[in-house]
Symmetry: C2
Subunit: 736 residues, 2 copies
């Protein structure tokens, strides 16, 4: 089990930063199984009891008593890290102290999860449902499948499409963002500039005989943890192992190699010897074009497509800041050994927003709309001090400076609202701030939206203030300024030195080459112009080299001009606030949080997805196979399609109860049953709601509009209950 | 110019077929420029004249007179091909005759296009608009760009998203198709089975010094055509060149190498020597996982993801035929030297449908809904005989057997309706049937939906009856039966021979291995069972090899049973009808067909996209920057968002006329102008329609609903004109 959990990692992997960038990637969210294995246990927990226990949650004084020493451990180490930093201790000492701090934090979190009330959730059952109803399954299964690749079947694909459409309306339309759709194939130069080529990597070791690969840090950790519980090992050795375990996050390649040798580690599968650790870049490499000269990769994130288009987007926005661009699309990571199902995959859909703003003004005009939201915030400070997450008013968190600006705060609020809309359980959602130690050096502040699942707390969305890092990196690589203009309150004067080539004279001397010499001269920097000026003054001429040719430039060929320029604007490199959604992880969390069993019948599992993202909005179930029924079903189906309502007709001969169960499994929120009363005037049918299983009777012709209104949230089910007569017949009694 | 046109190729490239599969890929749609270059020419052609000339089109007797000899040439060669086939002439002779036929066809088509009335269309202007307003532009431009890769900017991305949403509603929802979303990364084994590994390739030659690559057939063709017009070359030689040109489509690797040598062809760029032609597979290769053992490719089409999931999809459909699956997603082709802008790219979005049906019944229940449509059909027969395309009632075309079944016909009709909905000009759309010579051997019938653009006729959508080829190919590779069951009218009896392993006895002898031996024995084919039975009869035992181990099986270990089974169903391999959309090509054609200039002002270009796919539905233009205006705009913007209407506020200080022109350029169909009357009760504003530039005045509070109704086609503009007072003020007079 440990193995499964230990690989639930952070999705955010842009490591273009400093030393800590690499540490960043290795934050492990340890967790303990939240799965109920005993049948009795499940029966013991009624729905109400479950709710009560959840409410008790982490504030139970008994639980707090057990957690206290863990919290103390974290706090001590947090204090040490702060002290070392204040004293400007050697970098290595700080890094080791931070690594130990993280380990203590994980121990605390593991204990918290262990003590938290168990859900009635059964992951195997959910996975069964997702596979059986073809929400999602392994890709190329008839060819044996490929790890880390999944196909969405009709149900999963519909949920995903609905979720993305909602995302588009919720973010792109609402904020008038500029959505783009960029190439996945990306040339090496771009990813070199962004830092992915150098830093987007893991270390791996190979089984020397079979060639099988393992992630080096995973392997070392697993084997050390096994040793730590070995009875044959003495206390002193165990202490050493504990120290090593605390430091794995900060291990260099050599550290890893040494540990593997020292503990004589072997392949966990064959027992064969292992290779030295080697770097493995996680990007899928390919070659663009037939020559093999253009090396390319599949993009590891969608963000870079936005950054390289910054100039055009700014122009499109008529040069004005702030504006946001967004992109939905696939990204790829060649994981060394992907496990943990849908959480850790090699090809996945992201939805990223890059909000560009003036670095000196990160206020947001709509912040007040979200200021009153109460969010569960797990601040860096609380993490350092071993304290739990806290519920805080968003407005206060920004005011206090805990969240570093309004724009970042606004997006956290919008993310929260979006997650509620798609069906995430608010009790299983938190925003975790990156501690200053794990944040890339260029980031100002970073919060992960994490969902609690049976894999522990997993990061679903990252939200960071990345300052001007990315635009600067591409400017540096291309020489093209990625800047915006800011109006100056008062104009400023600037001294200008210009070299003006005299084309006529140049033309006479250099003929065809005159143009390139002229271009060269007009692009010189001030210091270069002054050098040339001096040399001409001293020698009457100067030699310049353009395209490996040398030209003698004489005094009559250039005029050096000096003047003052009035500046009304200044150039600034915009800051970037980046909310980045891992769509697959959001979906998986939604599935877990909405997986239910009917009271008293654990075999009748279903998904209580919000209507907006449910794959079909409505089922149509005729009680008989008569021709009259068939005609009515056809009519109704046509009317539903006219109302853009995706629906499923189930005219199989199964009992109505069994058919309801089947539609519940694919999360259809509303069901229309055509019975014998539907054939007589006034033509009516029953409408059933999935979660309450309550039914009303309504005129057939009104049903398409009712379902449409319910599906897009224009009416509530309570409203329907108040306006149409309840249909009391029990589901069970309808069974043939 | 020729070079640009010669690379407008067919999108369909699944060459899993026989020899002809390869020919298939090389169908060149030659064309001549339809671009007006002279300013005078443009002025001469008024809108009405243009329309008149279009109506004359190809039925003009003068034009027909010129075309007659070209038609005759095609007919003669078509007759020859038929004759050779009837006489079962050697394959090579047929192939050469077919190649010549194609060349004659292209000559006819080129002449037709040359004589057709010129559009007032100016491609450079359209490209300018698309780039300037960031509909689309080259990817990674700040890094110098990569050929064949394009980014969709905010406007292009919105059009694409709208187009795909419409596609989803029009096909997936309407037909209740099963939409899937499969991995792009595809292991080699899958693409080997589908035939792509072997056949998805072009021949290329390299510049021996610079390493630059060229498509061999393109290069040879271009150089031969240049020679053919060379005055220094005598008539005899020209005749030889003409013969060669006619046969390029059928050239083998050796033919190409020989021609290059014989004519001493060099690199068209450097004049350097060229390499021998070599195969180049068009798939982007990569490696999945860290070991490098799993070779993979980026999928060259989305269809294979559906085929490999056939079993699950059939199950999801409760085992019933027919059903259709669909997929929208990106595919990749590593073109040797992509040109022709958006028509020929390396990464593109496809939308594919695989309709699975009983091969013995390809009727379609909804065919009657489209039977009365009149489509322009360019049949294989007419192509063979040099005749033009004909307008035909779809119902008649199916009845006559021209279109081989109702399902194929139904999709052609639906494709036509879809293309009309997204704004394709019906006069510039035709369905071209593949001639029996160009069709893959397994395909029953194949029609391309082609759009006429400045690149000539380009294939945007393929629609083929692929029979059972794909499912068979994957069954062959995996051993997994991809079949459906068909109820038998009468039950059938079948003789069964079964080998029943006796586990108890096996267990005693083989212990742990008993299970694999038992599995092996129970899976034997009838002939194998009979062999084993015979050997046991002869020798009392038989040796079998399982997993390289040998086991002695004795008489007591198996019971051979013979009995008769009643069969109520039989297994069938479904046929596949495949409509396959190249989304980028459809979009490009829509752009060309909707690119307009305002009468009398050729600088005022705009795009008349249907509201449904326009990037924004509505603009909001305040006439003043006063605070009161600002508040009203904010309110209106909020109301529009509430109605899911994407809109753009332009509160810049430009004149209203200039702002209208700007919104026309990005194809915004409706514009709300807030003027001083909007601030007084009764609060009203003007609503302008893009194409007619007519305006009405309506209450501000009604506007969001009006625009919504117009955008989704619930109301027409004429209806609005009838219900609200016309606002007569001229656009020009509003200019400040």
């Amino acid at each position: 089990m440990k193995q499964l959990f230990s690989c639930v990692f952070k999705i955010s992997r842009r490591f273009t930063g400093a030393i800590l960038g690499d540490l960043n990637r290795r934050t492990i969210h340890l967790s303990v199984p939240c799965i109920c294995n005993s049948k009795n246990q499940k029966k013991l927990f009624g729905k109400k009891l479950q709710h009560m226990v959840q409410m008790m949650a982490l504030t139970d004084p008994e639980i707090e008593k057990i957690l206290q020493p863990f919290r103390q451990q974290v706090k001590e180490q947090g204090d040490l890290v702060r002290k070392l930093k204040t004293e400007k201790a050697p970098e290595l000492d700080v890094a080791r102290a931070v690594a130990d701090l993280k380990h203590r934090k994980h121990a605390l979190e593991a204990k918290e999860l262990e003590l938290a009330p168990k859900d009635l959730f059964d992951r195997a059952k959910l996975e069964d449902l997702l596979k059986q109803k073809f929400f999602v399954d392994q890709s190329f299964a008839i060819y044996g499948g490929i790890n880390g690749l999944y196909d969405f079947g009709p149900m999963g694909c519909a949920v995903k499409a609905n979720l993305l459409q909602l995302w588009r309306n919720f973010f792109v339309l609402e904020e008038q963002m500029l959505e783009v759709d960029c190439s996945m194939l990306t040339p090496e130069t771009v990813l070199k500039a962004s830092g992915h080529l150098e830093r987007f990597q893991d270390y791996m070791v190979k089984d020397l005989k079979t060639g099988e690969c393992f992630r080096a840090d995973h392997l070392i950790e697993a084997q050390l943890e096994k040793l730590a519980t070995d009875k044959k090992i003495n206390q002193e050795k165990k202490e050493e192992i504990r120290r090593l375990l605390a430091m794995i996050d900060g291990f260099s390649k050599d550290d890893m190699g040494q540990t593997i040798k020292q503990y004589n580690m072997k392949s966990p599968i064959t027992g064969n010897d292992l290779s030295e650790p080697m770097e493995f870049n996680l990007m899928f490499a390919t070659s663009i074009g037939p020559t093999g000269h253009i090396k390319g990769f599949l993009r590891p994130e969608t963000a870079q497509g936005i950054f390289v288009n910054f100039k055009r987007l700014l122009e499109f926005n008529q040069g004005k800041l702030p504006f946001a661009a967004a992109q939905i699309g696939n990204a790829f990571r060649n994981e060394i050994s992907p496990r943990a199902g849908l959480i850790r995959v090699r090809e996945f859909t992201m939805a990223e927003i890059e909000h560009f703003c003036d670095p000196s003004n990160k206020d947001h005009p709509k912040f007040e709309n979200v200021a009153d939201l109460n969010l569960t915030l797990y601040s860096g400070c609380n993490q350092m001090e071993g304290k739990p997450a806290e519920v805080k008013r968003l407005g206060d968190a920004v005011k206090e400076g805990l969240i570093c600006n309004e724009t970042l705060g606004y997006f956290l609020g919008r993310i929260y609202l979006f997650m509620m809309r798609v069906g995430i359980d608010p009790k299983k959602l938190r925003f975790r701030q990156h501690m200053s130690n794990e944040m890339a050096h260029y980031a100002k502040d970073c919060w992960d939206c994490e969902c609690k699942t049976s894999y522990g707390w997993i990061e679903c969305i990252g939200c960071a203030d990345r300052s001007c890092y990315d635009l600067m990196a591409h400017t540096k690589a291309t020489g093209i300024k990625l800047v915006a203009e800011r109006k100056l309150a008062e104009h400023r004067t600037e001294d200008v030195v210009e070299c003006q080539p005299q084309m006529k004279v140049l033309g006479k001397s250099f003929k065809k080459e005159a143009k390139i010499v002229s271009e060269y001269l007009s692009k010189l920097e001030v210091s270069e112009i002054e050098q040339i000026e001096q040399k001409i003054k001293d020698n009457g001429e100067v030699e310049v080299t353009v395209n490996s040719q040398t030209f003698k430039v004489t005094a009559d060929m250039v005029i050096i001009k000096r003047y003052q320029k009035k500046l009304h604007v200044e150039e600034i490199v915009p800051s970037v606030i980046e909310p980045s959604f891992g769509i697959g992880r959001v979906m998986y969390s939604v599935f877990e949080h909405n997986f239910k069993m009917r009271e008293g019948d654990e075999q009748r599992t279903y998904l209580s997805l919000p209507a907006e993202i449910a794959p079909y909005k409505c089922s149509v179930l005729p009680l008989s196979g008569n021709k009259e029924f068939h005609l009515l079903v056809k009519e109704l189906s046509k009317a539903l399609t006219m109302h853009d309502i995706s629906h499923k007709v189930d005219d199989s001969s199964g009992s109505i109860g069994r058919r309801y169960a089947r539609t519940d499994q694919i999360s259809i929120p509303y069901g229309i049953t055509i019975d014998f009363d539907s054939l007589k005037s006034p033509y009516t049918a029953t409408l059933r709601e999935r979660d309450s299983t309550k039914q009303v009777r309504a005129p057939v012709e009104e049903l398409p509009r009712i379902v449409q209104d319910l599906s897009i949230g224009r009416r509530t089910w309570d409203d329907i209950l108040n306006n149409y007569p309840l249909f009391e017949q029990q589901e069970a009694t309808k069974d043939k």
